[in-house]
Amino acid sequence: MFEYCNDPRALEGLQWLSCYLTTATHFSFYWSFVTVLLLLLVTAPLALAFGFAGAASARSHFLPLSWLGRIYIAGVRGVPDIVFFLFFVIALDQGLEWFKHLFVCEDLSQPVWSNGEFRVCPAAKVPLGNASPFMVTAYSFALAVTTFAIVFGAFAANVLYGAMNAVPRAQLETAEAYGMSQSQVFRRVLVPQMWIYALPGLSNLWIILIKSTPLLFLLGIKDAVYWARELGSAKTSGNNPYPHGDWRLFYFLALLVFYLMATRLSEIGLGKITRRLSRGQATRSGEEMRKAGGQA
């Protein structure tokens, strides 16, 4: 990156470090943090949508739909999440290819799963064999996002389901007394009021989501963990311009600091939002704020 970096062997001290930290592979490392943040930004609303759908269907008066929502919520609890992470990535991939297989392939006589292999015709591959590297990356990223959204959606559904039940019954009855239909009550009264009850659970979930992003590594994404292992491992072969010993410890320390900062900043931010939302609410913290003299 810098002019003087052309001959790394002649450099020493800080200058060497400045060159070392700006190599192309290091930029991939820095970029992977952006990937993590991108994943968070895409997954959080998607998981919330899954959660909302799950909670709404669990409350439904139509029994099969209600069961579906309950099974979704209960199914993800009680089982280690990493099992789901490993499971969904393959299951979604195979599911897509199998579905496509039914429509695109001409020869459907062969079984798809046989002899320990999963075989569909080339046209049914997702992504196609000749897809660009960008498409392959985007596809695996999309799979990871969907997996995260399904797993976290169940937890969000649980939080939202609890929040919907926490809205005072009298509010809903009043709305019914005004002649609103079920869906109007849901849309105009229940949903706007549930957020303050859902906030503690959702903020907890957000922090858990941040802390689960290293699992991207297990889903085959070249994330921060992958690069920390790659860059940190001992580089002693002759043609490496920046030889060094086993530095993985330092890279993982950097990751640790990154995650500690991310969770700390989130805690502070979420604390502010909670205070903001509690102002004027008939809850204990709102009451305490009022007594303290109205400053929030």
Binding site: V79, L86, F155, K211, S212, D246, R248, L249, L256
Partner: protein, 275 residues
Amino acid sequence: MSCWETIQAYAFRSLGYGERLLPKEGFDLCQQFTLIGSGLIWNIYFGTLALFFGFFLANAVALAKASRHAVLRKPAEWYIFLFRGSPLFIQFFLAYELLVLLPKAGIEIFGLHIETSWTTRAWAGALLTLFLNTAAYSAEIFYGALKTIPRGDLEAADAYGLSGWAKFRRIEWPTMLRLGWPAYTNEAIFLFHATTLVYFSGFPAFAQKGDALYYANYFADKTFNPFVPYPIVAFYFVLLTLAVTGLYGVVNRYLNRHLPSNQRQRIRLRPNLIR
């Protein structure tokens, strides 16, 4: 190979007994159930020991965090923040890299020779990490419980002339445990779930001796069919969760035995997935 033979060959494969090679063909349900169940031994080992040792450290750290002296309080706060604020996955990697740095030949302290090579093995290194991790989470639970002891109980203790150690041992500590127990039950359940991360992080599995998820992953890779092995893991973990809930429920009833039935703490499974 009949199912009975499979069980004989693989029931203790995760500990290194029985057949040396993992199954290469067949992959029937019996094989999968046996081998994944064999791996579950490691999950139970990690979970039980980490919980047992973590309980004592958690009590000490919770008390330190509640202390009036900054010398005790600050380190406890930092310890809890460090382990609760960062992903367990990263902690595993970091612990492994730290343990690798120990001198290979062993350490000499006061003429005593201490071997260090065993610390990088999963059974020791991962256990240490899980122990420190669960101690931090449990300490926060116990600290919270310590802060919510009803004022009336403490005043009653004062009125009876209890103070210092006697007050702590007879009033504060039992009440803290009682109040924190439902949350602590959840912590125990999710610690067992967290044990599945061990062989997917820094710690390598020697001679293919791994945990339940390690073998499930092996089968999923071999058969390219995730729909059998992962549900088996899920099945085993649901059983494990039920067992933990039952066991902790017994303790919970014991802690609440003096209360009228409508004031007792109930255990509810709450989501708190990844650490």
